[in-house]
Amino acid sequence: MKPLEWCFKKSIWVYHVNAGSCNGCDIEILDALTPYYDVERFGIRLVHTPRHADALLVTGPVTRQVRERLVRLYESTPDPKLVIAVGACATGGGIWHNTYATLGGLENVLPVNIYIPGCPPRPEAILYGVAQALGLVPGVVAKQEFAESLSAEV
């Protein structure tokens, strides 16, 4: 068993960071904690400080203002840690991908372990993404490719 797998055998506790999000993704994260979706039955719960957390759940396109705080939060989270980008903004910058006030996505600031796109993602999608980060379920997305010359030969 790999060391990372062994460390994450216990319940994972997440710390939710809003890095300039519009609150859409934050509401969906809170939805996932309600009795209807109930992530706490898997031991996933929100904690109040990054020092207790196993995973950072980051939403938003990372504004210039929040960058320094985000790096400090990342550094104060104990190793091993997961960084989960929730929403289209954190995944690729969203519709603010090229504005002056944002850094265009989380990957420009922190090493990201898993991306959960969606605007906002459904609570199920967040649940699925966290489960995929823990290696419990496989990823289902695949790149769609097409070339006309190839299809003409077939």
Binding site: P35, T91, P117, P121, L127, K143, Q144, E145, F146
Partner: protein, 178 residues
């Protein structure tokens, strides 16, 4: 004391009445309802790479590039907001929004669509006119419309060459007027 016990019993009864509310989601699939907009899917048979979707996309994630004799249409779905404007803009109805929502991925390159189409160059000057499918569609429409045009030889000319051809050959112009 008794009052307290009674109120607790009442709460227990209410809980019994509510039953189980939690979704059995990870163990049973929970498909979205109605007109849910999930991951966009390109029907590569219908698409003729006209670029209407690239114009409509608010996140500017659809790009069209001409390179040599190939036009590349690529979607970077990482920042897709699933608004459906590309679907509405598509004249060929080639883009559909599937109900797939479990899009989490470790490698963000998975969230993309990449399609290549052959280009047609002007017969005279070599300027790019459009994709092979666009030209074929125009030819098809010209032949099937009322009144039909049988001579579609000028379809693979660019605008300026077409104008020149019409000036040098007024018979063509007459045919178009009819």
């Amino acid at each position: 004391m008794l009052k307290h016990t009674i109120s607790e019993l009442k709460e227990a009864l209410i809980c019994l009445e509510a039953g189980q509310v939690t979704l059995p989601y990870p163990f049973q699939p929970h498909p979205p309802e109605g007109e849910f907009r999930g991951k966009p899917v390109l029907n590569s048979r219908k698409c003729m790479s006209c670029g209407a979707c690239a114009n409509a996309c608010p996140a500017r994630l659809i790009s069209i590039q001409d390179n040599g004799s190939i036009r590349t249409l690529s979607f970077n779905l990482r920042r897709c907001t699933f608004c459906g404007l590309c679907r509405d803009a598509c004249p060929q109805e080639a883009i559909t929004l599937s109900s797939q929502f479990e899009l989490s991925t470790v490698t963000p390159e998975d969230l993309s669509i990449h399609a290549e189409f052959g280009l047609v160059n002007c017969r005279e000057c070599g300027k790019v006119i459009g994709t092979q499918r666009q030209v074929a569609l125009v030819k098809d429409k010209l032949q099937t419309c009322e009144p039909g045009f049988d001579d579609t030889g000028y379809v693979d000319l660019c605008n300026s060459c077409k104008r020149r051809a019409f000036i040098h050959n007024p018979a063509l112009l007459m045919e178009v007027k009819a």
